[in-house]
Amino acid sequence: NSKVIQTPRYLVKGQGQKAKMRCIPEKGHPVVFWYQQNKNNEFKFLINFQNQEVLQQIDMTEKRFSAECPSNSPCSLEIQSSEAGDSALYLCASSLGTAGNTLYFGEGSRLIVV
């Protein structure tokens, strides 16, 4: 069973609404990743953190998405103004480190934008 906890499992939002997803990484894992898996099962890397600091993020994440991993609180990914194309499975993963370490995924939050 996954030790990375993601909530909610499902969320439905109207276009233009905010959508927020949370992730509790596995205990002791300082590195957290967010991925988007679309309806074609293609994975897109969004952002990753080491402790509270952003390591890498893509352009899309900089513009409409915001993410944080505060200390002693769940990590979060928020879409400021949802678009139909944002409908996807959002997967959070955690790891002990960066290069060479195994990633452990949560069960994902499925966003449907109507």
Binding site: F33, Q37, N41, F43, F45, G100, N101, T102, F105, G108
Partner: protein
């Protein structure tokens, strides 16, 4: 950027048969993971194998780093093995690049 190709795209087996899944990648990999994704979407890490051969249960992965390829062998397949198998690579950066996946269906 890194490209990861998997073959075959889909595979249908009878229960008890063996499966051989292939993964080819375009750049140096510091980590390679095989994942299983259930129809419901949960992603489960099967093996981390950046080089050499590793076994776990009925699974064997062999990665030849110089040739930028990895295989996943599933022996004595069961109906519960049905799902999508994904190969993912970490290159010199931090992020994981996923392959296109192999959809496996094991018939009883």
């Amino acid at each position: 950027g890194q490209q990861v190709q998997q073959s075959p795209a889909s595979l249908v087996l009878q229960e008890g048969e063996n499966a051989e899944l292939q993964c080819n990648f375009s750049s140096t990999a510091t980590q390679l993971q095989w994942f299983y994704q259930s129809p419901g979407g949960s992603l489960v890490s099967l093996l981390s194998n950046p080089s050499g051969t590793k076994h776990t249960g009925r699974l064997t992965s062999t990665t030849v780093t110089k040739e930028r390829r990895s295989s996943l062998h599933i022996s004595s397949s069961q109906t519960t093995d049905s799902g999508t198998y994904l190969c993912a690579i970490v290159d010199m950066g931090y992020k994981l690049t996923f392959g296109t996946g192999t959809s496996l269906l094991v018939d009883p």
